[in-house]
């Protein structure tokens, strides 16, 4: 049975959504449209002259080895962040679910990092791992590891992945915990009576029942890694060394904002927009088919 509210005036509904529409148009469609238009222009930094450049900006991009490398960096980075974040959060959630005494304190502590802004998370980890003054760098030096992420690309990637995962782990944890608590106890007890050991119970009952949550989190985490990690990267490696942590969205910023190459940067954001649209469509189709609500 569906409930429907009938509005008498045909204009009232439009009036009611108008503020939301206005905000969307001004802050989303307008700038997005402008970016699309800029992608086809060749203009100087001050916007004093502009001419139509056709697909030149896009052609330049795909001839730029740094841009192609950025795709690879983004793929590796988002995979590490999404998978790492989900696995760790699941582990923590399963353990927190079993805690009986002081459960609230554990949960609060685990949820805490979510209140931290990505840039702050970046600064925090950046300090801990700073080549000269970081306390963790000092410990690693004692262990004989030559820690200098300013030059070593693997170390730089490790740093931004750790900071990004740490920042997102609370979010994942919350969803897993809620998912775990909605699994009927009777199912697990029945399995236990049948003699299934904890690991087997987890793998054959809990994990499959959590799969909608896991899939949802995979989507959210990939989007997070694509866009929201900008603050982490800007506060630590700034895309370096030699582009090793330059994910697509950071390159848009680097070329557009720092280097004032608006055409190239707009072309990049147009491509990024296309990627996001594709990802969303694929994911929604997939989610709709697999998950029963």
């Amino acid at each position: 049975m569906e409930k429907r509210v009938v509005l008498r005036s045909p204009w009232l509904p439009y009036l009611l959504v108008a503020p939301q529409l206005a905000i969307t148009v001004i802050f989303f469609f307008w700038p997005a449209g402008q970016a699309l238009w800029f992608a086809f222009l060749r203009q100087d930094a001050f916007g004093l002259s502009a001419e139509f450049a056709g697909l030149d900006n896009f052609r330049d991009l795909f001839n730029d080895s740094a841009y192609l490398a950025s795709f690879q960096v983004t793929a590796v980075f988002s995979l590490l962040v999404a998978v790492g974040g989900i696995v760790l959060a699941l582990l923590l959630a399963v353990m927190a679910d079993r805690v009986i005494r002081g459960a609230l304190a554990y949960r609060t502590l685990l949820i805490w990092p979510y209140a931290v802004a990505p840039a702050v998370a970046g600064v925090l980890w950046g300090f801990l791992f700073a080549p000269s003054i970081g306390i963790l760098s000092y410990l690693m030096k004692q262990m004989g590891i030559d820690w200098n992420w300013v030059l070593n690309s693997g170390q730089a990637m490790t740093l931004v992945v750790i900071a990004s995962i740490w920042k997102q782990i609370s979010y994942n944890f919350l969803f897993f915990l809620a998912g775990l608590q909605s699994i009927p106890r009777s199912l697990i007890e029945a399995a236990a009576i049948d003699g299934a050991r904890p690991f087997r119970r987890f793998w054959t009952i809990v994990f499959p029942l959590l799969s909608p949550t896991t899939f949802f989190l995979l989507v959210v985490n990939i989007v997070y890694a694509f866009f929201d990690t900008f603050g982490v990267i800007d506060a630590t490696t700034q895309g370096g060394p030699s582009g090793a942590t330059q994910i697509l969205v950071y390159k848009v910023y680097e070329d557009g904002v720092k280097s004032a190459d608006l055409g190239g940067s707009s072309a990049q954001s147009a491509i990024l927009m296309l990627i996001v649209i594709t990802l969303t469509v694929v994911q929604f189709r997939f989610v709709e088919r697999r998950v029963n609500y």
Binding site: Q43, D44, A45, F46, D64, K258, A260
Partner: protein, 439 residues
């Protein structure tokens, strides 16, 4: 209750205090000076504000050089640009091409009716900001050149003569080995890798950075930084990095803190690092000429400047421009300039300030402070060592630095890295030339 009345009183007095300022014309000055240098900038503004009543210069720190330049461009596009913005030398070509968006300093000064003599400025500095017709487009402000700092205490500890700094890269290698053997963890580091090891390396060895007199001759310039000499130098650095003699610290001045904290024993960075080094170092140090490669004939030539100049943006009211002109006039006073040079390590930008400093006996009392000036004037500049002017060099320099990093990390050979830097840099130059045909 009590809190409320205090708050009210505070608001009232704040309002009262701002009232007289309403009559003044405000001049926004965006800059990128931090620490001791930022304090000096505020002193300049306060001094000017106290010297007269009509104008009030408001200095605003807008982030590092690339950020403040970008912020000013964005503000111009949005129609609320500052009056004055400090732009680093790699942004010079971009600013020069922006006709209409900037108010050239020679026009500004002519309109103001104030006395202005471009010849009063040191030519090695002013030449950077002068167009092909000899008109000065921006106001020189802070100019420096890379110099070579050594920690004398570390030299002593390694059994080296602390009064002799290595002159060539060969001597440098011998010293580096001894320092490492003495237990010095970080032997050498550098600030501004592209500026020191590509741009100034070229000038210092009389090699072109690009065609058409390093771009000063026009926008159709091309990079020439993959010559055998350039590649050999990057290879040398990569070798040092592999030996543990060279610790890479980053693309800006991160290295300076590594030096004055005592972590690294040798440093190449801006002569303007002296202010901070003198303030923080708990050891004896000396300032020296950059090492050179003695197998290249004619080396050392002379080094080139870096730093920034003050650009005036277009579209402001005549009264405001008058204030800017008066402020520039105030800044050019020899006493002020001499003090700026002596306290910061930036080179003097007016001839009067240079002479004043010399006459005061400052250089004898403070050995090392004249190294930057001497190095800039080591030999009469050639087409390769006059300076550089590349379009969108903010991006170009990033590309060079990325490739240097790849070579130092061993991901690419020096040859490959410099070939890639040249090719990618030329792509940027072509794009700039296409977007700025008029310039």
């Amino acid at each position: 209750m009590k809190l409320k009345s205090i708050a009210l009183a505070a608001t009232a007095s704040a309002l009262w205090a701002t009232l007289p300022a309403q009559a003044q014309t405000e001049i926004q000055w965006w800059h990128s000076m931090t620490g001791a240098l930022g304090d000096r900038v505020n002193e300049f503004a306060n001094g000017f504000n106290a010297s007269q009543k009509d104008y009030k210069v408001v200095p605003v720190y807008k982030g590092a050089y690339p950020e403040s330049m970008t912020a000013a461009i964005a503000a111009y596009r949005a129609g609320n640009a500052p009056h004055i913005v400090q732009v680093f030398e790699v942004g010079t070509a971009t600013m020069m091409s922006a006709k209409g968006a900037i108010k050239p300093v020679y026009v500004l000064m002519k309109e103001s009716g104030l006395k202005f003599d471009p010849k009063a400025y040191v030519s090695a500095v002013a030449g950077y900001y002068t167009d092909s017709k000899g008109n000065m487009l921006s106001m020189p402000f802070n100019s420096s050149t890379p110099v070579f700092y050594i920690n004398k205490d570390a030299f002593k500890k390694a059994g080296l003569d602390p009064n002799v700094a290595p002159k060539t890269w060969k001597e440098f290698a011998a010293v580096a080995g001894k320092l490492k053997a003495s237990g010095q963890d970080c032997v050498y580091t550098t600030g501004w890798p592209s500026w020191v090891h590509v741009e100034n390396f070229s000038a210092w060895h009389n090699l072109p950075i690009g065609t058409l007199e390093n771009g000063i001759g026009g926008v159709n310039t091309e990079f020439k930084i993959n010559s055998p000499a350039h590649v050999a130098h990057i290879e040398l650095l990569a070798g040092f990095a592999k030996n543990g003699w060279f610790t890479y610290a980053g693309r800006r001045n991160e290295a300076e803190a590594k030096f004055f904290s005592g972590e690294c024993a040798m440093l190449t960075s801006s002569s303007a690092a002296q202010a901070n080094i003198r303030k923080n170092a708990k050891f004896d140090f000396s300032v020296n000429f950059l090492p050179y490669n003695d197998s290249i004939k004619g080396a050392p030539q002379n080094s080139i400047i870096g730093g920034a100049s003050l650009w005036v943006l277009g579209g402001k009211k005549p009264a405001e421009y008058k204030g800017v002109a008066q402020f520039f006039n105030y800044l050019s006073q020899p006493e002020l300039q001499a003090k700026w040079h002596q306290e910061t390590g930036y080179v003097p930008i007016t001839n009067a300030a240079a002479e004043l400093t010399k006459a005061s006996g400052y250089y004898e009392k403070n050995p090392g402070t004249d190294v930057a000036v001497k190095q800039l004037n080591n030999k009469p500049p050639t087409a390769n060592s006059k300076g550089l002017r590349f379009g969108n060099f903010v991006q170009g320099r990033t590309v060079i630095e990325e490739e240097i990093e790849a070579a130092l990390a061993g991901k690419k050979s020096a040859q490959q890295a410099m070939d890639d830097a040249t090719a990618r840099g030329n792509d940027i130059l072509r794009k700039f030339a296409a977007a700025n045909k008029g310039g």
